[in-house]
Symmetry: C2
Amino acid sequence: MKIAVLGGDGYCGWATALYLSKQGHTVAIVDNFIRRQWDHELGAQTLTPIAPLNERLKVWKKITGHSIDSYVGDITDYEFLCSVIKRFEPEAVIHFAEQRSAPYSMIDQRHAVFTQTNNVVGTLNLLFALREFQPDCHLIKLGTMGEYGTPNIDIEEGYITIEHNGRKDVLPFPKQPGSFYHLSKVHDSHNMMFACKAWNLRATDLNQGVVYGTVTDEVSLDDALINRFDYDEVFGTVLNRFCVEAVIGHPLTVYGTGGQQRGFLDIRDTVRCLELACLNPAAPGECRVYNQFTERFSILELAEIVQKASAKIGLHVEITHLPDPRVEAQEHYYNAKHSKLVDLGLQPHLLSDALLDSLLKVAVKYKDRVDESLIMPRVNWRQTHNDHSHTPQNGNGNGDKPARAAQPAVAGSQRRTR
Amino acid sequence: MKIAVLGGDGYCGWATALYLSKQGHTVAIVDNFIRRQWDHELGAQTLTPIAPLNERLKVWKKITGHSIDSYVGDITDYEFLCSVIKRFEPEAVIHFAEQRSAPYSMIDQRHAVFTQTNNVVGTLNLLFALREFQPDCHLIKLGTMGEYGTPNIDIEEGYITIEHNGRKDVLPFPKQPGSFYHLSKVHDSHNMMFACKAWNLRATDLNQGVVYGTVTDEVSLDDALINRFDYDEVFGTVLNRFCVEAVIGHPLTVYGTGGQQRGFLDIRDTVRCLELACLNPAAPGECRVYNQFTERFSILELAEIVQKASAKIGLHVEITHLPDPRVEAQEHYYNAKHSKLVDLGLQPHLLSDALLDSLLKVAVKYKDRVDESLIMPRVNWRQTHNDHSHTPQNGNGNGDKPARAAQPAVAGSQRRTR
């Protein structure tokens, strides 16, 4: 199967591209490397030293014999995107190519506008390009469980049957996203639903939970294939961050009470979910939604799990409660359905001691690369800055840290002149 | 009360600015005149010959003694917008400053991207600017009844109580918008709900129905104050278009069966609704939603009403059914609530023979200005074009019409370099 992975140089994208290539699919990666630029902007870097994409792909070819083509460019550039679709003629497009950090979108006005413009325009362009050049191609788009927020009712997979005043309809599940990033995904979802209906496109919207882990069978084959492992407050997902905190002796940073419940999944399940979606395409005109996570934890539960696992390898770890920088309910009902991918054959890797051991081992191995000043939350939902020259406060007051300019690092076609 | 009217040079904005000024409010108009640019782009013009804004305002001052300040610029330019908010210090901002045509958004990829970028960024900028410089200001934003689509249940005003699996919550009403324009309004609504919650802003989202009429007490005072009257397929609202068709002997152009039901209101009610919203501000942190229309008609019913009114003034009018260029249900359940503005004191001007007489009279008066080639629908939802150089087909095949380049006429800060 010919599969294009947009954002294939990123965290989930890289693991997915290799996994699909290994299964024998013909994979192409489309990326503009903006994720690497954001690291420079924030003065952050992945815990694991990742190789440049061309090196990654050379090593992959050498080890497995599988070629992965790369197309370097920005999907908000419509002509570039069309040229890729025309040349590669994908049967499925997996769309990871969005700004995916909630804190990044909340830094200030420019980061909010950048996030929504980048994500919405990229997805709009993709819908138009598929309609024009590859209308039968299956679009698989990464959404987020954060689109739903935390309603006081069960969360269904994308749609809900509503009975109201004696009448009934199946309608899109009401969304209550909690950041400009999460909002951008809701905007995308609405645009996709409309395009499928108007143009008979086929799409799957994967509302993914919080991903953890870094090791998949494929990226383990060689050091040059190693995946990202983000632990900074802006791009680090919570479990990865906790593991890094544990090995450097930093208290686990729980925001508020830690009663916030979320859906989680192992990155090895992410890649498998993507293949399942490819192998079982949506019908023409269908915009289906799957909730893509395997287990539910509260943040405090996760911290306690990491604390216990750390104790087993001799690390004494404390848990600290910080004022919650986000606008979110700290205690709430949460019951989100997630059976559709299991019905397609997903066999979840549940969070086990073994996985935590391996995560902690990665953290130990690269401990010297940890920059502790990146951990404490500096982006505050309520105090989002408007001053463009603002530099997020340095959590540890360490004056010799590189300045972190709050400037969206945008590609040429996205830069908004002022 | 100090009220800024963004988009105050447009159809609803102009009528609203004058009405509020007449009531003694201190009004400022913010506009970049892009609405006039779109006329040039489409080779269209308003039936009524409108004066430039500076002339309009001079005459208004001369006749009434009331000054209206104007700020010329684009609200997608954040620094411009901030400077206006800082200087004028509004107690209420009425936000009409969006691309408001569904067909315009469906011309091609560029018009879709322009519409969503323009509308979403403008509203995001406004939320940030208010938060920073005028956090107690009441934001009154024009949405559209088209955000809801046509669900098979009653449409509530913005929120719905959902009982599901034995639990209950009040959630945003599910949206099923039917064009990239309508989608942009849904995106705005979600962004506003979040900003009110996160930053304690106060907002009213007015989901307006289809507006008809052109005459208000204020614009009638002088020919230089006359309002727009659009009848072209891109910007003309349906009742205005039917009246123009009637007086030039063109069959009334009903799309499909005409069973599509919509909410409608007289422009004299639009201006009154805006004042009611200003006088009764939302509470801090509240994002309330009002459905702003007064009567429901099907498109065919409207055509028949115009046919009858025309007969009374001696015009024989036919009704024609065209293939529906839109993606919409032609027969459907429709029951949308609209009691909240009435509760605040709105006394509707219902569609009467008198109003239709006056509308038809305006159309007769300016009959010589009608360009018949602008009437037939050329923008097709299913055949939205990707070719940037595409010129929408000329309905009457008249070779000497000016070419209609499908290029978004964007202000400097919005232009996306390719």
